[in-house]
């Protein structure tokens, strides 16, 4: 088994065991640099893959990234992988599951629907959320019990209904 194969095996073990990314270290002047030193471009690519998958400590990514940039700045393949990793991380951060909105920001159809639900549950809308899973409203209601008739009507429009401390949350 070559040295590189051994390194790859160790790295995959590190990924499985979720070892911290500080295990990737650059060799010192005397050649000693920890357990999994990044000495070649291939090893740098493995380290980038490690970070792309979100393994290890995010606080250490900056240091590893800086070291890779300074050593492999002229290597197009490594730099492309590094840039692509940055884009991936930005996209992941950009994905918002839901955001709080004002009721009037809903489309007229959904606003009407939300108001109808609030009227049916005899409550006041205190929060509205819009996200990739649909719309959610939080209602403050004095009466926390729904009669059978109301449930029947509600079952036509909502996706789920949740109990809250002083009211309901409704997904539609």
């Amino acid at each position: 088994m070559s040295e590189l194969d051994l390194l790859i095996e160790k790295l995959s073990y590190a990924q499985r065991k979720r070892l911290p990314s500080k295990d990737f270290v650059f060799p010192d002047a005397d050649g000693k640099g920890g357990r999994w030193p990044i000495q070649s471009a291939k090893q740098a690519l493995i380290a980038i893959d490690f970070m792309r998958k979100g393994r290890g400590k995010e606080s250490e990514y900056g240091e590893i990234r800086k070291a890779i940039e300074s050593r492999f700045g002229r290597n197009k393949k490594v730099m492309a992988a590094l840039n692509s990793m940055d884009e991936d991380i930005q996209n992941q951060e950009g994905l918002e599951e839901a955001s709080q909105i004002e009721l009037h920001e809903l489309s007229p159809h959904h606003e009407k629907q939300a108001k109808a639900i609030a009227k049916l549950l005899d409550g006041k809308i205190v929060e509205a959320w819009d996200g990739i899973h649909g719309k959610v409203i939080f209602l403050k209601a004095h009466n926390s019990r729904l009669s059978a008739d109301k449930m029947k009507t509600l079952a036509r429009t909502v996706r789920w209904i949740g109990a809250q401390k002083d009211g309901w949350s409704v997904g539609f």
Binding site: S144, R145, A148, A155, W160, G162, A163, D166
Partner: protein, 95 residues
Amino acid sequence: MKDLIDSLTEATWVPRVTHADTLEKFKGLESKTKARIKKILKAIGEPKVMAVYSSRMIIDEASLTLAQLKGVTRLKVRNVGAFDSYAGPRIEIGF
């Protein structure tokens, strides 16, 4: 007020209850009531039960999906309520 009295008299609540606990809570109820409860629980996917009374129960769920809502509607339960238990909000079903 009734909720308050009920919550005070029910001293054996635990946040997460086992199936055995659920069965234990059924003891003392009429067989007709037990059958009704089991039917309702089956319709909503057999959730754990936090407390059972003669005409209502509190299940260990904080929300009902559309399918569960339709299930309880079909069984003509009396009402569905939001119950503020010490373990957080839970669903109460009146039958």
